[in-house]
């Protein structure tokens, strides 16, 4: 039996909203009933009425979902207050129990607007038919009744103060039961306040959303194979998981002073003990003894704009030398020998990552990673083509930057079969499943630095340059 709850979300990263709710529901083993009307499921608006089986579930969601601001027991909605009050009266059985002697207060607020004080009072008085006899307590009321007016985005227009007041799109009403307590974590994990970070550190809000996609919780083991400065390690560890991090470049994990930067930042958050260990190696030449180890793999692979992905080997293969391998003299710093590396093309890396995850994850484990794509060239098949047998797409949420964007891809390992480790052989990297469409993340670095120009417009540019 589902009861309706009014959710108020932070109007950011809207494509991440539903995957986050679904992940937390899956983690805690309950289900959410989404609206049947597709119009009400749209995430362009901050309000959504969802069905939950118990108030306890609302509490769980408000404590864990980064994008949840408020959850109310839903009473009514309307295009006008008349409509709202009519619906509210129909649901009197839900609120009548508070009428006799429960202390209460009203919260009247708006999205994309500020309601002037005098009208807030009018709004509250409009509910007088509810006939609440309890004490009005502004500090510690037993219940809070919340009324939200939703206005169209007036961004970028000039207007007089209070202009358009009351001309809302819709108004929502309910009993406030939870204030999102996970949202303040965005401040806690603010990169600027972190004792150790780098130019590729993931912003706090996104690394928290990623952690939720991994279903991080106490007793789980999570791995980041491109850990860098450890942004996702902190958030996943915060939710109780043990975290392994590895990177081909140990300097990223260490920083310049001892102890290593990631450990220092983890200590700042009180979770240094949950950083299982850090390790320097190339994931394509990894020393993991066996597969099936991790509950989740979470990573932001370098895609070549601020940092390029690297793997061991040389760009230009030299003829093999005869004789014994060369002996490298120890170097004065703590890196005795630094082997040569070569670039790691993104579509190759993404495909390898899925295969690696199938090998390294436990059944039902999740792979969560960012994939940058060129907006114009992106097709759904790009992501589908990365999948392989036993791996299923759970979510694909776009963070849009205009001409390009990055997609947070969540993939679940559905198979219980054990697969061999990937060969990481670039020869198989050809996108064999999609002969017709070259994925929009292939050679992303090159496309980025060419400003995402299409091949033909580029020729046109060259022509015009020649004419000049």
């Amino acid at each position: 039996m589902f009861t309706h709850y009014l959710f108020v979300f932070a109007q950011v990263h809207d494509e991440f909203r539903i995957p986050e709710l679904e992940s937390i529901a899956e983690l805690h083993g309950f289900s959410i009933k989404f609206p049947d009307n597709p119009e009400d499921k749209k995430t362009a608006r901050p309000f959504m009425v969802l069905g939950l089986e118990s108030e306890e579930h609302a509490k769980v969601l408000s404590e864990r979902c980064i994008l949840v601001k408020y959850i109310c027991e839903f009473y009514a909605r309307g295009k006008t207050y008349e409509e709202l009050h009519r619906e509210n009266q129909l649901r009197a059985n839900q609120w009548q129990k508070y009428a006799a002697d429960t202390s209460f207060k009203f919260m009247v607020t708006a999205f994309n607007h500020t309601i002037p004080q005098w009208r807030q009072k009018d709004v509250v008085e409009g509910f007088s038919y509810m006939d609440f006899q309890g004490k009005i307590d502004m500090k510690n009321p037993e219940i809070i009744l919340a009324c939200f007016e939703e206005y169209r985005d007036k961004h970028g227009t000039t207007r007089a103060k209070d202009e358009g007041d009351g001309e809302f799109e819709e108004v929502w009403f309910g009993r406030l039961i939870e204030v999102g307590s996970a949202r303040p974590l965005v401040k806690k994990f603010d990169v600027k306040k972190r004792v150790y970070y780098g130019n590729t550190s993931m912003e706090a809000e996104m690394s928290l959303l990623m952690a939720n996609q991994t279903l991080a919780s106490p007793g789980k083991l999570i791995y980041d194979p491109f850990t860098g400065t450890g942004s996702m390690a902190y958030t996943t560890a915060h939710f109780g998981a043990f975290v392994y991090g590895s990177d081909i470049d140990g300097r990223q994990m260490r920083g310049k002073v001892k102890p290593p930067g990631i450990i220092r930042a983890a200590a700042q958050y009180g979770i240094a003990n949950r950083i299982m260990d850090l390790c320097t190696f190339d994931v394509t030449q990894n020393p993991w003894r066996c597969g099936g180890l991790f509950d989740a793999i979470v990573t932001d692979p370098p895609y070549g704009v601020r940092a390029g992905a690297k793997r061991l080997g040389r760009k230009n293969v030299r003829p093999t030398r005869e004789g014994p391998p060369p002996v490298h003299a120890p170097r004065p710093d703590d890196q005795p020998y630094i082997p040569p590396t070569r670039p790691y093309e993104l579509s190759e890396l993404a495909r390898d990552l899925v295969l690696l995850a199938r090998y390294m994850l436990k059944p039902r484990g999740r792979l969560v990673f960012f994939l940058p794509t060129v907006t114009e060239e992106y097709k759904e098949v790009d992501v589908e083509a990365m999948l392989c047998e036993g791996m299923e797409l759970v979510a694909n949420s776009l963070q849009d930057f205009g001409s390009w964007g990055r997609r947070l891809i969540t993939i679940r390992k559905t198979t219980t079969e054990e697969y061999p480790p990937p060969t990481f052989d670039p020869a198989h990297a050809v996108t064999e499943n999609v002969a017709s469409h070259v994925p929009a993340h292939k050679d992303f670095r090159e496309k980025y630095f060419q400003g995402f120009k299409k091949a033909d417009t580029e020729e046109a540019d060259q022509d015009s340059e020649e004419q000049q």
């Binding site: 949950r274 260990d277 390790c279 190696f281 180890l293 040389r314 040569p340």
Partner: protein, 175 residues
């Protein structure tokens, strides 16, 4: 002119304020020391930052991966190591879930090499809480800080520096 002074003031004010507080702090600290000499301990900041170290659980999961090194490449042998014990939260489910992935004999020998004999030589058939506690201690609380891990087969030396093992392979070792 007025603007200039105001902007100067706002600039200077925090500096003045800060130095004032610092002087005050220093004075009161010295005064406290005079009155209560036993308080003379270094101030704690952010709590204690533990040094990074390799845990035995990690040691139990890493094998030599050099080209062609496929037999007798596990477990890696510790060399010139310094160890430290550090408490970690106990999660019985985590240890129990991890048990099937452990190479038990390798774990016992690594622990004994580091001077810990708490684990029985053979894995008991009954996994009780006491055994899980012991496993927890060996897997998660014994840390190797410095030293190296050496492949028993190809003798590749993987150095551990600042608690981070360097498992990178040389050019001739990849393939």
């Amino acid at each position: 002119m007025l603007q200039l002074t105001i902007s100067h003031l706002t600039e200077i004010l925090p500096i003045v304020k800060n130095s004032f507080f610092r002087v005050l702090q220093a004075c009161s600290h010295n005064l406290c020391l005079l009155l209560f000499p036993q308080l003379n301990t270094p101030p704690l900041r952010h709590g204690r930052i533990p040094p990074a170290m390799v845990r035995l659980i990690t040691h139990n999961l890493l094998a030599c991966h050099a080209k062609g090194c496929t037999t007798n490449n596990f477990p890696l042998q510790f060399q010139d190591v310094s160890i430290e014990l550090r408490e970690t939260e106990f999660n019985a489910d985590f240890i129990r879930g991890f048990l099937p992935r452990i190479e038990y004999a390798a774990l016992v020998s690594a622990a004994r090499q580091l001077g810990d004999t708490s684990l029985p030589a053979e894995q008991p058939e009954m996994v009780d809480d006491e055994f899980l506690q012991k496993l927890h201690h060996v897997l998660l609380e014994i840390h190797v800080e410095e030293g190296a891990m050496v492949c028993p087969n190809c003798k590749h030396v993987f150095p551990i520096s600042n608690g981070i093992p360097n498992m990178l392979l040389a050019e001739h070792e990849i393939g």
